[in-house]
Symmetry: C2
Subunit: 166 residues, 2 copies
């Protein structure tokens, strides 16, 4: 397979994957393009390569920087901004987990707290309170597990976690 073909297939596949992870297609494609690029690319390079508008490129680059999946790189004497991708896969996954935990798990925990102990007809509210307790217990465990996970490093994951879990 030649390089151009492989590149397109990878960008396409990464885009599809990303859209299931709270990262929209273009955002993931930009990340993919930067991942396989040996040099930093400018917003213009990216917009040309992916055939998107500069507005779109800009918005998604900023989102990628918010997620710590892409960094700005300034070249001395150049006005243009360049971008590089986070290439350590463990860092990538870790940062996605951090973002999603913040946007999903934490709000859910807050709601569950408010829903503690509902009153009403016996049968219904008993079942309700039981479910809320279960969900809250599970969510809290998931929360602290993910905290520990995201504090551990790449080698730990690649090396130890696998053995522990097998």
């Amino acid at each position: 397979m030649n390089f151009e073909e492989g590149k397109d297939r990878f960008i396409q596949a990464w885009g599809a994957l990303g859209s299931n992870w709270g990262i929209n297609r273009t955002m993931a494609q930009i990340h993919a393009l930067l991942l396989i690029s040996p040099q930093a690319l400018s917003a213009e390079d990216i917009k040309d390569e992916l055939k998107i508008s500069s507005g779109n490129a800009n918005m998604n680059l900023r989102a990628l920087m918010d997620w710590n999946l892409v960094y700005k790189e300034l070249k001395p004497g150049e006005r243009k901004e360049y971008f590089v991708a986070e290439k350590d896969m463990w860092e990538v996954v870790k940062n996605i987990i951090i973002q999603r935990k913040k946007k999903e798990l934490e709000p859910m925990l807050r709601v569950l707290d408010e829903l503690s102990v509902v009153e009403g007809m016996e049968e219904q509210s008993d079942e309700f309170n039981k479910v809320i307790r279960d969900v809250k217990l599970f969510a809290s465990k998931a929360d602290s597990t993910l905290d520990s996970l995201t504090k551990s490093d790449s080698n730990w994951f690649v090396g130890t976690f696998m053995k522990m879990i097998k």
Copy 2:
């Protein structure tokens, strides 16, 4: 807080959470409704409660059954079908992981295999091949880790995993 209010808040929150997990809002709301219901509910009950069309109720119930998040329950002498939710949170998460692994990770692994060893200009294709190798290594590890995870049981997760990871 009274029961009705709590119920609505929970269905709402669960719906929002689900839509980040490959489960659309209605699908997650149906699951939430069944979760907190002490009895099995019919499609009609669900459609009335959530104010959705029967087509929508039907399609999402089938999807939930495909994911093993909801089961059919037949009552003797009754023509109508009733539904109950999987209430064990570990089972719920496990089934979601199984589905998503199948729909996301496995296709990605297949693409990565096809992309092994791309030819072209030195610098570009070297970087490309390196990234593909890294991603593939990581994805394979994730794949087998998730396999192990989904084969372990609830108590194992709730009890052991936490301690191991701390």
